[in-house]
């Protein structure tokens, strides 16, 4: 046994797997506890949004009228048989409706951000890259949008198009997405412009120009990936804003139409019984709050992970 003198360490070390800046950022992200909490909440939220109807005990529109009748025509309280979170006055299962609401919120979160990116990034990139008159024009345009009252604009748009095919698409949700996106791209556009303004002065851009890379490629391959960090953060932090905006609109009756349930409209319906049946307001409120906290934690974590120099300075 003592002769067991295997020589170790003579093997040439295998070259380390290439790790780009993105992987490094991911490493920093998972070390941040709050960000991981946010990530878990966001993952749960996504799971509910995508698979909600499959795991929901009831379809969201089915009424358990017998149970409500047996309860004296009152909404069932939480922990009732068959209805863990109770029902509303019409006997619809609250958990199932919350899960359907999650689906709406997830769709809102991502479609709105997609609209924002599709409008904001190109406008910001054009303004930042070309500068001069184009920059001036585009930035004044964003100023106008920024100064316009968001809610008023969304309501006007919703009311104006409510009866058209555009307004009816996706149970009326499509209109809400577009409306929220149309007022929301301003921040991302300004951010993208700022990133490009500072990045286009860097030497690697000059070096890219010096080897004849086209403008389009310099912007898309060199500038945007380098400026992506803050944009990703802004988009992540924009998701709770969009969710909240949709909930607000649903609360005042714009957007998703019954019998579909958005978290906002659930609160609106539930507040009629807020004294006797507070759970009808409480649970949707908790869901909204959790989703907002999750995305906010994740966004903050992303900011620290993507820009380590910034950490601790804010």
């Amino acid at each position: 046994m003592a002769t067991n003198t295997t020589v170790v360490g003579t093997r040439v070390a295998k070259p380390k797997a290439t790790s780009g800046p993105w992987r490094e950022a991911a490493g920093r992200l998972v070390k941040n506890k709050l960000a991981v909490v946010g990530l878990v909440i966001v993952a749960l939220f996504l799971f509910c949004g995508i698979f909600g109807p499959l795991i929901a005990p009831w379809p969201y529109q089915v009424q358990d009228l017998q149970a409500v009748f047996a309860n004296g025509n009152r909404p069932l309280p939480p922990l009732s048989p068959n209805h863990i979170l109770g029902t509303d006055q019409l006997g619809r299962d609250l958990l199932s409706r919350l899960l359907d609401g999650a689906r709406i919120s997830v769709t809102v979160a991502f479609v709105v951000q997609a609209v924002i990116i599709l409008i904001g990034v190109p406008i910001g990139a054009l303004a930042g890259w070309f500068g001069g008159r184009i920059d001036n024009f585009l930035m004044r345009l964003t100023d106008v949008i920024y100064a316009f009252p968001d809610l008023l604009f969304i309501i006007l748009l919703s009311v104006a198009f409510r009866e058209t095919a555009f307004g009816q698409a996706l149970d009326g949700l499509f209109l809400v997405f577009v409306a929220i996106g149309l007022v929301g791209w301003v921040t991302v556009a300004r951010l993208t412009r700022g990133q490009l303004l500072s990045l286009k002065e860097t030497e690697f851009v000059e070096a890219a120009k010096a080897i004849g890379v086209s403008d389009r490629k310099i912007v898309t391959r060199h500038l945007l990936p380098n400026g992506m960090g803050p944009i990703i953060v802004a988009v992540t932090l924009g998701i709770p804003v969009a969710i909240l905006a949709e909930a607000t609109l649903a609360y005042i009756g714009i957007g998703v139409q019954p019998p579909r349930a958005s978290w906002g409209s659930l609160i609106a319906e539930g507040q009629k019984f807020i004294r006797s049946e507070p759970h009808l307001v409480l649970f949707p409120a908790i869901f909204i709050a959790l989703a907002l906290i999750g995305f906010t934690f994740l966004g903050d974590g992303l900011r620290d992970a993507l820009d380590p120099k910034l950490k601790g300075k804010q």
Partner: protein
């Protein structure tokens, strides 16, 4: 041309850091002789009366003022001078990379291989950059994009200009990396710049500059950001590869030692103008302009006494906003007389061939013989 390449690399390959001066000279002479095949003009690069000005709120800065010089096919021309003398701006002007605004080429012409660069459309100019004119920047730490792999960045010009299939491009990238002396080039294609040291990154920059076999490389202080040992390796690499490919080099440096070792001819620039030009030998043996003396004199010497102060040229280069009609070096010159501050000397020939200086004192009949 191919045959000559092989000959040169065979003679040149074993010497990695220390080249004998004869080897270099021979390789260079061969390369220069061959580089002109298919030439379309007498010189690869002819800069005539180039003036590049910067329009700032304080006034017009005449960063490059009426500069004229040639670079022959396969030749290495040095451009030396202090900071702010217009060396870099000259190089940027040739590639039309002067930031506009505030900078603008206000007059002059630049003929590159018979093409009038200043008359090209933006798109044609873009096609010239990287393909015919390579650029090596001063600071390899900031000249590479941190979010893209080395392989992508070297391949960028190749894809843009050569239209190779991605497999052929990949092979060429690997070959280039090997040429500039990166070990295990295949494994490093997908690495990011932060995984390379400064010297390695400058090698990558050289690979990028050479990626499309350019006729001219503009090397803007290629070794200033590197330490001395790496500096020697990088310079040797530039010299070896430019000989091998028959590439002309415009080498910008403030280090006269580098210029002496690398260049065929040297232009000394001061305050936006060329003040002396000549072959390396004549210029270093017999400089005819007090500024060039000052530069040469301020080099530390091996026989300097320890503890002595290093010699400097007193004062600062003048501001280039509305410079007076006078010798621009006169305020710092020990030999200046009335004529120096009253009228500006021209760049006039001196005794040796190809030697010219801008100085009243060393003109025939001047007060310095």
């Amino acid at each position: 041309m191919v045959g000559a390449d092989e000959e040169i690399s065979a003679a040149d390959a074993p010497t990695i850091v220390e080249l004998s001066a004869d080897d270099v000279l021979r390789a260079r002479t061969d390369a220069v002789a061959n580089a002109g095949l298919g030439r379309k003009a007498d010189h690869l690069l002819e800069v005539r009366g180039l003036s590049t000005h910067f329009f700032t709120p304080d006034g017009v800065v005449q960063a490059v003022d009426d500069v004229t010089f040639n670079v022959g096919y396969g030749e290495t021309l040095g451009l030396v001078g202090e900071s702010g003398c217009g060396k870099s701006v000259s190089a940027l002007s040739i590639a039309r990379l002067v930031p506009d605004p505030p900078g603008r080429i206000v007059s002059g012409s630049i003929l590159f291989d018979g093409i009038d660069v200043l008359k090209l459309s933006t798109e044609d100019m873009r096609k010239l950059r990287g393909k015919e004119i390579g650029f090596i920047f001063q600071d390899p730490l900031t000249s590479l994009n941190p979010t893209l792999t080395i392989g992508y960045q070297i391949g960028e010009a190749i894809k843009e200009h050569m239209g190779l299939s991605s497999k052929a491009a990949q092979e060429r990238i690997t070959e280039l990396l090997a040429k500039v002396g990166i070990p295990r080039p295949k494994d490093r294609l997908n690495d990011y710049p932060f995984q390379f040291s400064g010297g390695m990154r400058q090698r990558v920059m050289i690979a990028i500059a050479l990626s499309c076999d350019p006729k001219l490389i503009l090397a803007d202080e290629p070794t200033t950001a590197l330490d001395v040992t790496i500096q020697a390796q990088i310079l040797e690499l530039i010299q070896r590869l430019s000989s091998e490919f028959g590439t002309a080099v415009l080498l910008i440096t403030h280090d006269l030692g580098i210029a002496a070792g690398m260049c065929d001819r040297v232009n000394v620039m001061y305050a936006g103008r060329i003040v002396e030009t000549g072959t390396v030998d004549t210029l270093f043996e017999n400089p005819r302009m007090p500024y060039a003396w000052g530069l040469l004199d301020s080099l530390p010497r091996i026989d300097d006494v320890r503890g002595d102060r290093l010699r400097t040229i007193e004062g600062m280069p003048p501001l280039l906003i509305a410079p007076p009609k006078a010798c621009r070096f006169a305020p710092r010159c020990d030999y200046a007389r009335d004529i120096c501050v009253n009228s500006e000397p021209e760049l006039t020939p001196r005794a040796e061939p190809e030697h010219a200086a801008r100085c009243w004192a060393t003109e025939p009949g001047g007060w310095i013989g």
